[in-house]
């Protein structure tokens, strides 16, 4: 008998030793770890998101604000305790209130979202009948409201939940999982100001997550309010002028660099991102239309609007004088090859300045050849091409200013004269953004390149100024005032009687340049102008991708904006211009018509190209 009992004794000893060791392991060796887990268990942080700062336009009009979004949630731990009949009654009542069928997902500890973004009235009803709807809660959360929908979408941007890659970059700045962050536009660039500080409560909770008592409570601090340099009305005018043409419009204060309007089409409605995106909408967004690209900051070949750079370089470098007259036969001959002027019949004898007025390609082929790539590149860079303007918006590209070294390193080829003549008319490898061109034309008057900016100021909740956008001179052009003067005169003539007559409107004297940039598909249409020409207030860069004719598609956009600006915003009305005798620029002199062969005016059969 006793021998048989030994089997039991040994088994019992083994059991006791095992359990003893296990306790030793759990409580002594891993005690600290489990203690931490117990502390985490017992306290949960319930975040309370801070409302983001409000965004105003330059006149103080609200562009972006917050609205409360109501949602209905079910607390599974409360509902699960009810009898099936009771559960059914609650869910049926809720379904009647919401007016739709409820499909519950898997049960969990966390509250289950039944419906998001319900209307206020229904949220109130759910709250009122809280007694009958045990386990159902209605919550409200501030979400972004872009009051004008698509308007200025690329400037404002949109917001969304922080993504894993963003989080890893921003973790040090206090961003957390589940935070709402700006994804584009000023919402993104100034996110740290706009987001505010999330508050929250540290609450002791039981196993079901039921809050028992508040350990600590921090009120959320709303984000700082932001005023943009944007002029909402002007933005509306610019967007309707652009219409549904793929392209971009930049309207900037010429002297300060304040962006008054910045339009890019196709665009999108930032509000769509709030209440979850429908699949079909994504498909459309991600289609070939690329609505998220800010085309005002994207790169395109400039075409003839680049000719001011060629002209400035030629005059400064002394490869041409303003008196020099070239002969345009409609083509330019280079090593047995012919390069066409847009005007097949030719412009005849034409001065370099008049070449700008009529956008004669032959003149600028020749200037391009005389200058060569490196000198052209030097002046392009002086005008700020090839580098970012520094606008406080995401997505900005810096473009390409090619020279011999560039071609060698990127294409592994030597520079040919053929490249130079293309360069002279803004074709070939050069790439610019509409914004860069606006800045370039703004600098012609002052001789200084200013940094464009879109945020005027940011004030915190105590109305303390915490950020201010200021006019910054990026660089002096370093170009003789006399050179700039003749260029400005020529640009005025472009509008008065040259290729840009479409933008010649009464009440505001405009100077500018058309451009049609060859590229695969239909040519891009450019039009850059500033007004008033003698004391520029605004610069307009309008760009229509595949718009074909710079003197129309893009010029009409500028014309619409100018008309509105003249009526609504122009500081001082201009007296109507006295009809002046028709003359042709010949150096510093104005030579009456007749002394030169009169250029053929554009007709409908023979549209003015370039």
């Amino acid at each position: 008998m006793n021998k048989n009992l030994q089997v039991l004794v040994i088994s019992f000893i083994v059991i006791f030793v095992l359990l003893f060791l296990r306790l030793l392991h759990l409580q002594i060796a891993d005690g600290a770890k489990f203690n931490r887990l117990a502390l985490e268990n017992a306290a949960k942080t319930v975040p309370e998101s801070a409302p983001r700062g409000i965004i105003y336009d330059r006149q103080g009009k609200v562009l972006v604000e917050n609205r409360p979004v109501f949602s209905v949630r079910i607390l599974p731990y409360v509902l699960n305790k009810k009898s099936p009949a009771e559960q059914k009654r609650i869910l049926d009542l809720l379904a009647t209130l919401l007016g739709e069928k409820i499909e519950l997902k898997v049960s969990a500890v966390e509250p289950i979202l039944v419906k998001d973004d319900i209307v206020f009235d229904i949220a109130i009803k759910v709250e009122e009948r809280g007694q009958e709807l045990e386990g159902v809660i209605a919550t409200s959360q501030p979400v972004r409201l872009f009051k004008y929908g698509n308007l200025a979408a690329h400037v404002l941007g949109y917001v969304g939940e922080i993504e894993a890659n963003e989080l890893s970059q921003l973790k040090d700045q206090g961003y957390r999982q589940g935070d709402i962050v700006g994804k584009d536009g000023v919402e993104k660039i100034y996110d740290q100001f706009l987001r505010g500080t999330n508050g929250g409560k540290r609450v002791e909770v039981d196993v079901y997550g039921t809050p028992l008592r508040i350990l600590e409570s921090i009120e959320p601090t709303p984000g700082a309010d932001m005023q943009l340099t944007l002029d909402t009305q002007l933005q509306q005018v610019a967007e309707s002028a652009l219409g549904q043409q793929e392209g971009a419009v930049v309207v900037m204060q010429a002297k300060t660099g304040e962006i008054l309007a910045l339009a890019s089409y196709p665009n999108y409605d930032p509000n769509l991102f709030i209440s979850g995106f429908k699949h079909a909408q994504w498909a459309q967004m991600n289609g070939s239309r690329h609505p998220f690209i800010n085309r005002a900051l994207a790169i395109y070949p400039p075409g003839s609007i680049f000719k001011v750079v060629t002209l400035a370089a030629a005059l400064e470098e002394g490869v041409a004088s303003i008196d020099e007259v070239l002969d345009c036969h409609g083509y330019y001959k280079l090593h047995n090859r012919l390069a066409k002027c847009w005007l097949a019949s030719g412009h005849g004898p034409i001065s370099v300045l008049e070449g700008l007025v009529w956008s004669c390609d032959v003149v600028y082929y020749e200037l391009g050849r005389r200058l060569g790539p490196d000198k052209l590149a030097k002046y392009a860079r002086k005008f700020g091409l090839g580098s970012k303007t520094g606008l406080d918006l995401p997505q900005e590209k810096k473009g390409t200013v090619p020279d011999t070294a560039w071609k060698k390193s990127y294409l592994g080829q030597n520079w040919y004269d053929g490249d130079s003549i293309n360069y002279g008319i803004g074709q070939g490898f050069i790439q610019v953004t509409p914004l860069q061109m606006a800045c370039l034309y703004a600098s012609l008057s002052s001789g200084k390149l200013v940094r464009p900016y879109i945020v005027k100021e940011i004030r915190d909740q105590n109305n303390q100024l915490i950020y201010q956008g200021t006019t910054e001179v990026v660089s002096e052009l370093g170009i003789a005032p006399k050179t700039l003067l003749v260029i400005r005169q020529a640009l005025r003539e472009v509008i008065r009687r040259g290729t840009g007559v479409a933008a010649n409107i009464p009440g505001i004297p405009v100077a500018g340049k058309t451009g049609t940039a060859e590229n695969p598909g239909l040519a891009h249409a450019w039009f850059i102008c500033y007004a008033p020409f003698d004391n520029p207030e605004i610069v307009i860069a309008s760009f229509v991708a595949h718009g074909e004719h710079g003197d129309r598609a893009s010029a009409y956009i500028a014309r619409d904006i100018l008309r509105w600006y003249e009526k609504e915003r122009l500081a001082q009305p201009y007296p109507p211009e006295e009809p002046e005798a028709q003359y042709i620029l010949h150096g510093s002199r104005k030579v009456p018509y007749g002394n030169f062969r009169r250029p053929v005016l554009p007709t409908t059969d023979n549209p003015a190209h370039l």
């Binding site: 039991l8 019992f12 003893f20 296990r22 759990l26 887990l37 268990n41 500890v109 196993v207």
Partner: protein, 412 residues
């Protein structure tokens, strides 16, 4: 009236161990239940009071069985057994349902769980059986034995109550071991059960088969033993998935519920994890009475009954946990001592059966709370809240004391 000389011969250590455990139980039950009872019933002491009433009822049982000469139990064994079967049968029809099982008789505010008490009656019945037939000699013996355990087993299986069914099996195997049954028989009986448990983890099962083969090789087993034991194990392993696939969904559900009665609402392992956190975070000294966050915030399910050890581990720490282990050690040690000292076989089987039963309860319960064993609803003897369990344990204690008091011939 009270026979003091008899009482003097009772086992002091046993009294000490049992009262220590009951005391731990009262403290832990209060700690884990007072806030909820306060909230829902306005009486923080409600569970403690109910446990105390159970304690009084259990005390009556204890006194009856302590004063009853254990030898008379042998004659009463068949009647106990039949009464037990009747109760187990009745509960299937008239019992109350909870957690998907039918285990209770509701008597006023109290519930009575026949399956708990059936354990001690089975111990008595088996002791009576083995004291007559020390060794299993014929197929008839084996058949009778299997029928004896099988009947209550099936009735409990039907409730379903895996914990108790397991206890019955373990009591049988433990008492078989004490009876000096051949190791081969024990292996033949136990190894297929282990096979069933390990079969879902195919590699573990294969390793286990190798170990069984190794034991057979080392013990110079005959070809018949090889064939029977290994064959049975492999057969079980092959049949299990086939039987499983033949079952209907609701049947599978039922078996899963049987295997895991505390059906886990928060995903696998949640209960065990919370219990481990509670015990581990107790550290050496514990967080102090009523200061365990896991306990007070209700992170542990069934913390006043099946998971009561996690309350002790959290609030009284390693010290408290080891103290409880020590008290059980003391109890089991005294039970085995009594088993070795009683003059007759019936008494020895009785005491060792109680030792096996108590030790298995403790091992399965604490093993579950510390995450060593799967969650099977089984109370911690003397400690867990629950009248039937306490009554059964106190009857066991009474029987042990009865044995202790009568181990030497008393000289009047």
């Amino acid at each position: 009236m009270i026979n003091f000389r008899l009482l003097k011969a009772s086992d002091l250590w046993l009294w000490l161990a049992a009262s220590g455990l009951v005391l731990f139980g009262f403290f832990a039950i209060f700690s884990s239940s007072f806030s909820l009872q306060m909230k829902f019933n306005g009486d923080p002491l409600l569970f403690v009071k109910r446990q105390f009433i159970s304690f009084i009822v259990g005390g009556l049982g204890l006194i009856i069985f302590a004063y009853l000469d254990y030898k008379r139990l042998k004659k009463l064994a068949p009647y106990f057994y039949i009464v037990m079967l009747i109760f187990l049968g009745l509960v299937l029809f008239g019992g109350s349902k909870a957690l998907g099982a039918q285990r209770w008789f509701q008597i006023g505010p109290f519930s009575f769980q026949p399956s708990e008490v059936s354990k001690i009656f089975l111990v008595i019945a088996l002791a009576a059986f083995f004291s007559v037939r020390t060794r299993l000699k014929s197929i008839k013996d084996v058949g009778e034995l299997l029928a004896m355990v099988g009947l209550p087993f099936l009735l409990i299986f039907k409730q379903p109550d895996l914990g108790t069914a397991l206890v019955l099996g373990v009591i049988l195997i433990g008492m078989l071991a004490v009876s000096g049954a051949s190791p081969k028989l024990l292996i033949l009986l136990t190894s297929p059960i282990i096979s069933i448990m390990l079969r879902p983890f195919i590699y573990l099962w294969l390793i286990y088969l190798v170990i069984v083969a190794l034991i057979l090789f080392l013990t110079n087993a005959s070809w018949l033993d090889w064939f029977l034991i290994l064959g049975l194990n492999i057969l079980v392993g092959i049949a299990m998935p086939i039987i499983w696939s033949m079952l209907k969904a609701y049947q599978k559900q039922r078996i899963l519920a049987f295997l895991n009665p505390a059906a886990d609402p928060f995903g696998a392992g949640y209960h065990t994890l919370q219990s481990k956190i509670a015990i581990g975070s107790g550290g050496f000294w514990g967080k102090g009475f009523l200061h365990g966050t896991q306990t007070q915030l209700q992170f542990i399910p069934e913390q006043h009954s099946d998971f009561i050890f996690s309350v002790i581990g959290e609030e009284f720490g390693f010290l408290g946990g080891v103290a409880v282990l020590g008290l059980f050690g003391l109890f089991v040690w005294r039970a085995l001592t009594i088993a070795s000292e009683v003059p007759d076989l019936f008494g020895a089987f009785l005491a060792s059966g109680i030792a096996v039963m108590t030790a298995f309860h403790m091992a399965a319960n604490i093993g579950m709370t510390v995450g060593l064993l799967p969650v099977v609803g089984m109370p911690l003897p003397f400690v867990s809240f629950g009248g039937s369990s306490l009554l059964m344990n106190m009857i066991s204690l009474g029987i042990l004391q009865s044995l202790s008091m009568r181990r030497q011939k008393l000289i009047f």
